[in-house]
């Protein structure tokens, strides 16, 4: 009888404590689902000069991975982890090129190529149109199709049925 009372008391205590434990568990459920692989593809191993995912043996890369694992375990989002890496290793740790010096070429060259390519296409279209215009005769002159239909109309008028 005494044992049953003790068990009942323990269950009641558990029921009281359970709601208090629930909020503590909630943040874990909200933890961003970041993995080492997510971050590895977007950051560099600064010593190796390659993306971290490709740096397999460099000791510095292994340290960087350990730091990322710690931050993942700490429930940090990918952006937060990248910010921490920038604070530790500088902007060069980001896989995207910087926006100054030679790195700027990574943005300027495609833009320039697009501009030059677009210009070349426009120029080509213009040239093609001019060439076609020359083939079809001077502007304003009736086209070959129009002359033929005029001739046809004249013939039809001559042979009134």
């Amino acid at each position: 009888m005494r044992r049953a009372a003790a068990v009942a008391l323990a269950l009641m205590a558990l029921a009281l404590v359970a709601p208090a434990l629930a909020p503590a568990a909630a943040p874990a459920a909200e933890c961003p689902r970041t993995t080492l692989g997510d971050v590895e593809n977007e950051v560099m191993c600064p010593v190796c000069g390659t993306p971290l995912g490709l740096a397999t043996e460099a000791p510095q890369a292994e340290r960087e991975r350990e730091l990322i694992r710690r931050l993942v375990d700490d429930c940090r989002s990918k952006e937060e982890i990248k910010q921490t890496l920038v604070a530790e290793f500088g902007d060069n740790v980001l896989a995207l090129p910087g926006d100054d010096g030679f790195d700027l070429a990574a943005y300027l060259v495609p833009a320039l190529a697009l501009l030059v390519g677009g210009g070349a296409l426009a120029f080509a279209a213009l040239g093609w149109r001019r060439a076609r215009g020359r083939r079809d005769g001077p502007p304003g002159a009736p086209s070959a199709g129009a002359a033929a239909s005029e001739r046809l109309q004249a013939d039809l008028d001559r042979y009134e049925l």
Binding site: P46, Q60, E62, R63, E64, E88, F89, G90, N92, V109
Partner: protein, 184 residues
């Protein structure tokens, strides 16, 4: 007979040449600067490039200028670098040896996790001043190609010797000791 070239050919050739020029410029820019090595080989003493960096222990900033008038053994290292670990006890011994005679070892931690670097310093009992170069900003100025690298700076702020790789007792005795013993 003069035959005019198609504007497309001209544009394509110009584009390819421009890309090649850009590639060449990038290669030249990213290559290590061996200006200090060349100057030393010619018998010149180049002025050590100045800098101001965060202290590794987080207590403000420190600069090379703080040690003007002293002989500075400027050592670039990282806690992830095994040869750096191997040479650190030697640097610590020499720091203790020269610090009372107007000399110091000055460590610059490169591309490192701060907590790892601090643990390294604690573990090896290093007492010489340490700065942290977060983004290798000194790499181009000093032409650093790997770690560790050590530059000996005289009391006038000029580089008198360098070692690209770990230092040893002989280097310290031949390159540092005479500067410390030199009277101004």
């Amino acid at each position: 007979m003069h035959r005019s070239r198609s504007p497309f050919v001209v544009a394509a050739v110009t584009g390819v040449l421009a890309l090649l020029a850009l590639l060449a410029y990038g290669l030249v820019q990213s290559g290590p600067d061996d200006g200090i090595d060349t100057a030393l080989a010619r018998g010149e003493l180049p002025v050590a490039p100045g800098f101001a960096l965060e202290r590794l222990n987080g207590e403000g900033r420190g600069s090379l200028a703080d040690y003007r008038g002293k002989v500075v053994v400027l050592n670039f290292w990282g806690s992830w670098c095994t040869p750096c670990r191997d040479e650190s006890p030697l640097l610590q011994r020499w720091h203790e040896r020269i610090s009372a005679r107007g000399g110091t070892v000055l460590g610059v931690d490169e591309i490192d996790v701060t907590s790892d670097a601090r643990a390294f310093v604690r573990e090896l009992g290093l007492t010489y001043p340490m700065l942290k170069d977060t983004d290798e900003s000194l790499r181009p100025d000093y032409g650093i190609t790997g770690y560790p690298e050590t530059f000996v700076v005289d009391r006038r702020g000029r580089i008198t010797a360098l070692r690209r790789g770990p230092v040893d007792e002989r280097f310290m005795r031949e390159e540092v000791l005479p500067l410390v013993e030199e009277r101004l």
